[in-house]
Every structure is written in structure tokens, then in C-alpha cells.
Symmetry: C2
């Protein structure tokens, strides 16, 4: 069974749907993919929220992909008989608002001008992303989620779902995430943004007619990429190994493998991702604060009326959202009377550990979802 990317477009003006900034963005298109079947009681839906640079293609192959080379970013977790079993669950994954992988974002055409939005795209929050996903769920006839699951910025969406629409959430699995960005996390995002905006080809966000700020975007990605790894993993993977040479070059070529690797990651990302989307999504992540945020948004208090099951997962070597931040989240959730399990997984590969096949994570998620089933 193969899948395809689908698109749902709605008129936010008509629905009176404002962004957290007070502005209205309309129309909104959300790219999404589904795997499995929604059952008759419509209670087996699992929403998976992707991380910063991810997309709706969470697992499986596209039916029209002859190369079959793109099995999705969480294919080891999602599928028949896997941790999130698509024989039992109807899995949905939406590309986030503000991204560039099919959903409306700064690279989309602004109907008012006929040109790409660029910086005319309004700032969006994690809450705005959730509101857009809710429209997709409504379109699919889903009013309750068996579970909402995601890592990193996906984990922020999980938490935001729980405070915005607690009545819709039976259970939630926030992974490698935080209630709010620390100054350190904001700092790295800000440096990435500055790297993009320092590139003259960024041109104040108006570059869709040209090649765009590829060099600045590559630097931004290198910064991000390092924060997703760990000292241990980098020592193990690269150490001080030289790249295709026996001695130093004594120039500014890449001497060390880690240099080549980062340059490759940077330029690869610059070819596939939109620089303005990096600006908007990093800002949304920086703004995110589960407990206290902008004037218009709900707070953790809104959970009090509801009791969901939570499985909070952190990784020992994640220094972007370290375990102490997961513990803060666990405490905050418990204070509102939620049913919270917490697991810190020992892993040396840093923040991105949840994207790396690991039977422990699979078993944890499978067991937790089974428990919901029984409840």
C-alpha cells in the first residue's frame, strides 16, 4: 500500500480564523499524508507532528515514486506492525504552516500581489500551526486523537495541541522537546537567522526570482545541524580524521572530515529548503512558551479541565533541549493533574536521536499506545 501527498485548502477569512499576531492569512493550504484507515468510530487517529525542517512524508513510499528512494523521515517507526502500527492506527502528518513542503509559507504566492509572500508572510506561531492542522482533521472528520506524537519542534506542536484543544487529545508523546526555548536555543536560532539575512542574495526576503541566499542558508543549516548532534557522537563519527588527505592542506580547504560533512549538509539543505521558512519556523519555535505566552494564547491552566496520558521522552546527550527541561515539563504537566510517564533514553547521538532507528523508542511508543487502547 503506497501513499500520496494530499492538499487541503481553506478560507481562513471566511472562518474568521486569526493568527496569534492578530493578522489573517488566507487562503491556507496544508499538505498532508495519511497511512492506514480511519475506523468507523473515528477514534483510531494518530497525528504525527514533524520537526523544524521535516515534511508530511512521515513513512511509506509514494505510489508515483519509481525510484522508491524516499521512504519518509520516520519510516522505522510508522507502518504495519511497527511502533506506530498503521494496521491499527490511522496516521496523519501535516506539513507545518510557514514551511515550504506543500503548505502555505513565505514562498507561496500571495493572492494579493501574485508574487511570493517573502517577508509579507505574517509571523506564525506553533499555535497557528496547530489551528491549521485542526482544519485538516475537521476535513477528515476527526474530532478526537488517539494520540499526538512528535519530536523537537514537533514536540512543541504536541504540547500546543494539548493546551489549545485538550478535549481532542486522548494521549500525547512529546519527544526531545521543551516547554520553552532557553536563551541558548534562541541564540542558535538567532545566529542562523542572521546568517541568512547577512547574505545579500536574501534581499530582505525577496529572492524568489533569483538564486536566493544559498550561502547564508548553508551556514544557518550548519549551525542548526551541530546543535542536533553531540560532542560524543561527533568524536565517534569524525574525531580528527582528515578528508581524503594524509596531512594538513595549510589552506582553507576542508582538512577535517567534520568540515566536509558540515559543508555538504549545508549545501544540501540550501538546495531543498526555503530560507524564509527557516526564519519563520525558528521564530515560531523561539516564541513558543507552554506556560505563558502572547496575549491571545491559552496557557497550561487550560489543561486542568482535562486528563490526558502523556509519555515524555528525552535523550541523555541532547544539549539543545536537555533532560532538565523535560523534567520541568513533566512537573508542570503533573501539577495540572495529567497522567505523565517520563523516560530518559541513554543515547550519545544528541538531539536528533529520535530520528535514528532505536528499538527502545519503538517499544516505548508501542507500549504506551497499547496502554491507551486498554484504557
Amino acid at each position: 500500500m503506497k501513499i500520496e501527498k494530499q492538499y487541503f485548502t481553506y478560507d481562513a477569512s471566511e472562518k474568521g480564523q486569526q493568527l496569534d499576531s492578530g493578522l489573517v492569512l488566507s487562503p491556507v493550504t496544508i499538505a498532508y499524508e495519511t497511512i492506514g484507515r480511519l475506523n468507523h468510530s473515528r477514534d483510531n487517529a494518530v497525528l504525527i507532528c514533524h520537526a523544524f525542517s521535516g515534511d508530511s512524508h512521515v513513512a511509506d513510499l509514494y505510489w508515483d515514486d519509481p525510484s522508491e528512494s524516499n521512504p519518509g523521515w520516520w519510516d522505522f517507526m510508522v507502518g504495519p506492525g511497527k511502533g506506530i502500527d498503521t494496521d491499527r492506527y490511522f496516521v496523519i502528518c501535516c506539513n507545518i504552516l510557514g514551511s515550504c513542503m506543500g503548505s502555505t509559507g513565505p514562498s507561496s504566492i500571495n493572492p494579493e500581489t501574485g508574487k511570493a509572500y517573502g517577508l509579507d508572510f505574517p509571523m506564525v506561531t506553533i499555535g497557528d500551526m496547530i489551528n491549521a492542522q485542526k482544519q485538516v482533521l475537521a476535513h477528515l472528520g476527526i474530532t478526537k486523537l488517539h494520540s499526538v506524537i512528535g519530536g523537537s519542534v514537533g514536540g512543541m506542536q504536541v504540547l500546543e495541541w494539548c493546551v489549545r484543544y485538550p478535549e481532542m487529545i486522548k494521549s500525547a508523546i512529546p519527544i526531545a522537546t521543551t516547554m520553552r526555548h532557553s536563551a541558548l536555543a534562541i541564540a542558535f536560532n538567532e545566529i542562523a537567522r542572521q546568517a541568512i539575512m547577512a547574505d545579500p542574495l536574501w534581499n530582505k526576503g525577496d529572492y524568489y526570482h533569483s538564486s536566493g541566499p544559498g550561502l547564508g542558508l548553508a551556514v544557518a543549516r550548519m549551525i542548526g545541524h551541530v546543535t542536533y548532534l553531540s560532542d560524543e557522537a561527533m568524536r565517534r563519527k569524525f574525531g580528527r580524521k582528515l578528508q581524503d588527505k594524509e596531512d594538513f592542506s595549510f589552506n582553507f580547504e576542508a582538512d577535517f572530515q567534520v568540515e566536509s560533512y558540515l559543508r555538504h549538509q549545508g549545501s544540501k539543505f540550501a538546495r531543498r529548503f526555503d530560507a524564509n521558512s527557516v526564519l519563520y519556523i525558528t521564530k515560531a519555535a523561539d516564541y513558543f512558551d507552554l506556560a505563558d505566552n502572547v496575549n491571545t494564547r491559552e496557557s497550561l491552566q487550560d489543561l486542568r479541565g482535562n486528563r490526558s496520558k502523556f509519555l515524555v521522552i528525552s535523550y541523555t546527550s541532547d544539549w539543545l533541549y536537555p533532560t532538565y527541561q523535560a523534567r520541568e515539563l513533566v512537573k508542570a504537566l503533573k501539577r495540572t493533574g495529567q497522567d505523565v510517564s517520563f523516560c530518559e533514553i541513554e543515547a550519545d547521538c544528541g538531539h536528533d536521536a529520535f530520528l535514528i532507528k532505536d528499538i527502545r523508542l519503538t517499544n516505548l511508543i508501542r507500549g504506551f499506545l497499547d496502554g491507551i487502547e486498554d484504557a
Copy 2:
């Protein structure tokens, strides 16, 4: 007693002095400052090695500085009656080769062309920096150092002194440093270099007739600056405090104080430092490897004939050169029969802790130097 910056120039060709790359750089000027008096037996000299972006102005005021606003980067440590007591010791601090604070570097005039070297400046190593400093010591009539002291890249110089010229070193205090850069440290340096080289105003290093790559250099500094801080210190200092506003701007202005702070640090640095010097000095730091390095250089084995006293100091919150790396250094030194003391200082302010006034560091260094005196 006030001081002045001095300059010593020598002809490296005449001396037959090659760089580790095999090239010859000549003439070489080293800017240096001295505080205190060299005694008659010429055995009270203490060499202080500055970190990456430092200079020869380690302490005291310039006699011709009417504002008296620039007391030196380690003024709390160096002076009459201070941790490094200039009533007893003759303190020397040289600006490193490759820098832009008076010593020969890529912004210096290439006598062959009459223009700034730019990328025609040869790659220099930490060992090359030490060789240049040795010329200054010879000029001052110093053949033995009571101690050589420095933090970060200054600490690498300390260690390099000990392997290159062990017979000249009575004692050494490497602080917040490492025997060799980890992949993580190389990664951050490489990203900083890429940020500079991505700026079109860098112009392959040939920008001395124009304004230069100010934006790229600012991004490079922001990256460096974050690695000098710590998660804890940034939470304490900035947290999620907003900059001069009560709510989010919903645009790409600096919302958070940490963003303004980093932007300020970046642009301030871009005004005072040369972008090419960042490239050369970071590369020298990446190349540095105390135990095994380029073909021409000495190794840790060369310490075996000599016995010096070492005080190795690390900081609990230094994640650029974490304590485990200091412990590796201590073990390596002990294996060669050195007399090594080690102290990890509990401090939450990260790698740059040694630049922040702390009576514990002062007392440690004072006590250690006193011990040498008694020996």
C-alpha cells in the same frame, strides 16, 4: 606605573626560520607589552599567552591613554600584589602571529606587493606563534620562563611552549584548554569561517581597500561567543527576557535580550577585528594537537627529558573544552613524568570563566607561582 605597547621586528629569512608549513614569513613584527622588572638573574619572567581575539594588553593602563578606559584583558589577575604579582614577576604578553593587534598577520603589508597579505599570508600554527614569541624573549634577554600562563588558545600556546622548548619552561598553567580540538570545536570554527567566506565583501580575503565582510564576521563572532558562554549563564543573564518591549514584535527584530546582546557582540567585534585573522587563528587552533601533529613538529615525547610543574585548570560549565579533555591532558603530562596539579573550578559561566574576576583563580595561580619560587 603605566605601560606602552612595543614592537619587535626580525628577519626570519636571515635566521632561517621556517613556518610549520615549510614556508618562510619575513619580516615578522610582534607587538608585546611588559609589566614589572626583569631581575638581575633574569629568572622572574612570566609569559602570558592571550586567547583567540585578545592582544598584548594584558593589564595596566597605557601611559598615553587619557581616558584610562582600557585596563587590559586580565587586569584583575596581573599587577602589583595581584595573583600574578608584577612587584615580583616580569610579565610579558605578545600579540600572536596571524592576529591584527600589532603583530604580523593577514592585514599586514606584504613587502613583496606593497599591499595587505590577505590570503597570501601563509598558514601559521600554534608552534609558529611560539617561535615568534621566542624571538621576543631572546630580544629581551630571557632564556628561561618562571612560568607560562594562558587560557583557551592561550592555553594551547602554553602547552606548545612546553613541548617545543621544555628546557625554557620552569612551570606552566594551561587554563580552559585542550590537547587537541574535538570534532565539535572544529565544527564551530569551520562554521565561523564559512560565515566569513560566505560574505561577498570578503572577496577571497582581498577587502582591505573596502569595508570588508562586516556582516559575515559578525555572524562568525556570534557563533564563537555562544561557545564561550553556557546554558546556565545564559539562562541566568537573559532567560527569555524581552528587549525594551512588553510583547513579541511578530517580525524579525530582536525580541529577546539575548538576540540584541548577540547582535551587539557581533557588530562590536566586526569593528575591531580582522576577518582574515579569524580564519587564520581558528585554523591554527584546529590544527593544534599536542600529541601528534604535522610532520615537522615536536610531540609530547619531547617533554620526557624535562620535568616542569604544571597547574591544569578547567571549568565545570566549559562545554567547548570540557573537563574530560583537561583530564586527558593531565594523564598525558603525567605519563611523561611531569609534576602536574589539576583543579576543576565550579563555575556556571562557561569557557570564558577565566576572564571573569574570581578570587579562587587568583589564589590558585598565586599559590602555584609561590610554590615554584620555593622550589
